[in-house]
Amino acid sequence: MRILLVDDSGTMRAIQKRCLAKLGIVAENVIEAENGQVAFDKFSSEPFDLIMTDWNMPVMDGLTFLKKIRSVNTQIPVIMVTTEAERTRVVTAIEAGVSDYLVKPFTTEALNVKIEKWVPSGV
């Protein structure tokens, strides 16, 4: 199980990596990117099973990244983890092809539930 973790905040990436580690996903299988462009470049050159992405990022935001992903891959699960909580934003992300959505701030329990939904047991 290889996960692409996209957030411009190293703090948020660290929190999410801790949750992934508790679910048995070793750090070597969590590839980090600080914006959508870096993430898309990594996605284009390496195989991944799950993407977790922020929305508001410099260079390329998460919505643009999501649309680029969906233009080449309609299957890979993409979880958006973001402060964008308004209904219109969630609808926009769904229309762009997001698989799941988690609003910041979140409890680690809520994050675990979202990840476990998309990460098969025994990874």
Binding site: T11, N56, T82, A85, P105
Partner: protein, 167 residues
């Protein structure tokens, strides 16, 4: 400025601290802020733009900033480094995002946070509006949020950045 805006930021601040840091906060004070200097030593500034333009300044004493970063990253800090700056910036992002969600009619967008260290800074709000400053007490020390919205202005985030300049 519509003072009802401030309540959304107060509620969002308490929610972010409870949810992400397991830290209760108590509101201490609420006043117009006539000085341009940040209230405490570590301050994140984030612009919001839509039907109105405004800024949030999330200002922490150093001990509170260190404890926030420690809770999030499980590492102890005694100096303001890149990790502390990132943690404070991300908290400001979540506070602004939570408040924004309570004002959907304004169709606000968030800018990316900038963090300044030290009290010898001058922060100007959009339209020269006088911000409202809310002081909080935490178990780790004091912090504050300053919120200023100019309801006469609406525009993009670039204009907010120009108007909420740090000198």
């Amino acid at each position: 400025m519509d003072v009802s805006f401030i309540n959304h930021f107060i509620e969002s601040t308490a929610n972010v601290f409870n949810t992400m840091l397991d830290c209760p906060v108590t509101r201490k004070s609420l006043a117009l802020k006539n000085k341009n200097e940040p209230t405490h030593e570590v301050s994140a500034i984030i612009g919001l733009s839509g039907k109105h333009v405004g800024s949030l300044v999330f200002s922490l004493s150093r001990p509170v900033a260190f404890k926030c970063a420690e809770r999030l990253l499980l590492v102890s800090y005694n100096e303001v480094n890149a990790e502390v700056v990132d943690a404070v910036g991300e908290l400001s992002n979540m506070i602004a995002g939570g408040a924004k969600a309570q004002m959907p009619d304004l169709n606000l967008s968030l800018g990316l946070p900038n963090v300044v260290v030290g009290k010898n800074q001058q922060i100007y709000f959009p339209g020269d509006v006088t911000p409202i400053s809310v002081g909080f007490q935490t178990p780790w020390g004091e912090m504050a949020i300053d919120v200023g919205f100019d309801t006469r202005l609406g525009g993009d985030l670039a204009s907010v950045s120009r108007k909420a300049a740090v000198c």
